[in-house]
Amino acid sequence: MVVHVRPKGIEMNSLIVRADVKRLLVTLLVACLVLTACSAQPTTEQAETDATVAETEVAADLSEDPDSITTTTGVPGSTTSQPATQQSTSTPTTTTTAIAPPDLEEELSEFEDLEALLEELDDLLADL
């Protein structure tokens, strides 16, 4: 009769290897979860880049469209046009903004004395 006797040192070694493999698998699992989570939300830089691309595309569309939005700011008569930045609507909208004409009283106030000047001239011409 043959008796196989397994030495005790070998058994201990196999136990150690098994524990290492388990730790490795857990680490890999965690890493996978982290990577999955990261891939689900883009980074801030990516978001900014995406927004710029979108704006450029909309602006290009609007520049080809004669009905682009025109807005007026500040002083009457000085109008500025700028492309729309809203992306909520798929087609550009046309709006009309009221513009006040120049204030005649204010613009021509320095010529109010012309009437008096003409009266003065009348007197001078009568003296000739």
Binding site: I99, P101, E120
Partner: protein, 274 residues
């Protein structure tokens, strides 16, 4: 009977001879107006009376001459005041005219002193004739008024030019807003034409007349002053028309904006009362 007839004839002949003789005698007595000086005191009294009369006449003539000179000096004072009150005469023109007025004033004051000192009618007559030589009314007064008017009209044309430039910019802004401003532009062109014509007529007058002196009267001063007067009046008409155009433009623009802002969507707004 014959005697009676003879007496009658003689009487008639005597009457015919006597009446003309008496008439001639009366006539001679009437025409003899010279006082008959028979004694010395009476003759001296008459001579003194004649001298007094002549001196009184001389004083009256002097007084009248000095009054005329005073009127001329007053006229020069008014010219000086007109220059001082003018807001638009150029400094160079004012200086030149004041120089002329100063010389005329000095000349008249000197003449007044010589008239006061004159002793004889002949001397006085000669001095009085010199009053008119200054030609205040004919040359100095009209040229002063024309220079003042010319400079003032030039100033007015400059002001109207700035007015039209401002109106042009305002009209352009009304057009940008969307109004039809064709009428305003037409009025503006007319305004500019009137203004430039007014300047063309008025500007040269001051230079043309300011050098005229009393010795230039009547030729060439009379013609130059008449032409200057006509040009200045025509320039005044142009300036008035230019101003009326400016006022019409303002009224036109005001009629476009009465109470409402402008909708950019409407680019064909017509004037309501053009």
């Amino acid at each position: 009977m014959n005697t009676m007839r003879r007496i009658t004839i003689v009487a008639l002949v005597m009457a015919l001879v006597a009446i003309p003789t008496a008439a001639f005698a009366l006539d001679d007595a009437a025409t003899d107006t010279e006082p008959v000086v028979t004694d010395r005191p009476v003759r001296d009294a008459v001579r003194d009376a004649v001298t007094d009369h002549r001196e009184r006449d001389l004083s009256e003539i002097k007084a009248r001459a000095l009054e005329t000179i005073n009127k001329q000096l007053e006229a020069l004072g008014r010219l000086r005041a007109a220059i001082g009150n003018s807001r638009h005469i150029t400094g160079a023109h004012a200086g030149q005219l004041l120089g002329d007025i100063g010389r005329a004033t000095g000349g008249l004051e000197s003449l007044a002193r010589r008239i006061e000192a004159a002793k004889t009618p002949e001397e006085l007559r000669e001095l009085i004739e010199q009053i008119g030589d200054f030609k205040i009314k004919q040359v100095l007064a009209p040229k002063t008024h024309q220079v003042i008017a010319s400079d003032s009209l030039v100033y007015a044309t400059g002001k109207l030019e700035r007015f039209s430039e401002k109106l042009e910019s305002v009209i352009a802004r009304f057009e940008e807003v969307g109004f039809n401003v064709d009428e305003a532009r037409r009025l503006l062109e007319e305004m500019k034409d009137h203004t430039s014509e007014g300047y063309r007529l008025a500007a040269p007058v001051a230079g043309n007349v300011i050098g005229l002196q009393a010795s230039d009267w009547p030729d060439p001063a009379e013609g130059i002053l008449a032409a200057g007067r006509a040009d200045l009046r025509a320039a005044g008409g142009n300036i008035k028309s230019a101003h009326q155009n400016g006022v019409a433009i303002v009224k036109f623009l005001r009629s476009l904006t009465d109470g409402t802002d402008v909708d950019l969507g409407r680019s064909d707004v017509a004037p309501t009362d053009s």
